[in-house]
Symmetry: C2
Subunit: 170 residues, 2 copies
């Protein structure tokens, strides 16, 4: 199967770029997930113990699950890009997979950012008080986790455009 293109010199999907960017994406997504999972702080508010954990926020839980999915999907497409880079049809399918992963990454980032924003600034009209004043360390780590998840999104976005472009040459 692999041999049928041997004679024709086909423009390669730049494998080096694909592999390095996918490894970076997996690294950023794992780091974002790890920082969020290990994020916990206990503070005392008017003498009452106040605990902040990522699992107390549905949007942060979504971010963690999404980063796990991004890691798994990108690992899969890393192998895919290596094995099937010459298969015409498969490069478009690779693009489609990258598109889904990118949409998952931006969706999770946006949801977590929205809830983090409320945590930092509160919502006066809804009566939701900001919490970052009490658990400053917790909020800083949320910010780091969000920044890394946005980095994995940017890498995936570039990969999506690259594979869409490559799909035209195959």
């Amino acid at each position: 199967m692999m041999g049928d293109n041997e004679g024709r010199r086909t423009p390669l999907l730049n494998l080096g770029v694909q592999v390095s960017m996918r490894v970076l994406t997996i690294g950023a997504a794992m780091a974002s997930m790890w920082v969020m999972i290990t994020n916990r702080e206990v503070a005392s508010v008017y003498g009452i113990a106040f605990e902040a954990k990522y699992s107390y926020s549905s949007a942060f839980r979504y971010l963690v699950y999404a980063q796990i999915a991004v890691c798994a999907a990108t690992l899969f497409t890393l192998v895919w890009a290596c094995l099937a880079v010459r298969r015409r049809g498969l490069v478009f399918a690779l693009f489609f997979f990258d598109l889904l992963t990118t949409l998952t990454a931006i969706s999770a980032f946006s949801a977590a950012f929205a809830e983090g924003y409320v945590g930092k600034y509160g919502n006066k009209q809804a009566g939701w008080l900001p919490i970052c004043g009490y658990v400053h360390g917790y909020c800083s780590r949320v910010t780091i986790s969000l920044a890394m998840s946005f980095a994995s999104f940017i890498l995936l976005f570039i990969l999506t455009v690259l594979t869409a472009s490559a799909a035209r040459h195959y």
Copy 2:
């Protein structure tokens, strides 16, 4: 310029599908924006007037701005698809534009959904009480607006895949 492909029978970007889907996308995005902008309810909570308006939520404001951007971008790509459907390079650029619009749509939907989720279920650990029990009508309209913004995202997602696929044939 338009004439140079006359001789060669090029597989057209299916203009009918492109135009109808883009018109539907604009309709869904405008409806989502309109329902959110006109969404307002006043309730009495323990004798105190409690007003719910979309502009009190940063994520809902983001949704409105994003839907305006989606409308403008899709109107632009509607004209683009009509005029430049045969230009090889331009179809890939059309894909890139669709990709950016799709990412904006899912990002805004996810952020608004996250904040809407807190409005409906609250966050006990953060001390944020749910508000939908007091302003039920307001929350129902938020749900409608979110549903329509998700519909515009799905249409844009399909358009992105179609133009990426078409870019391979031009």
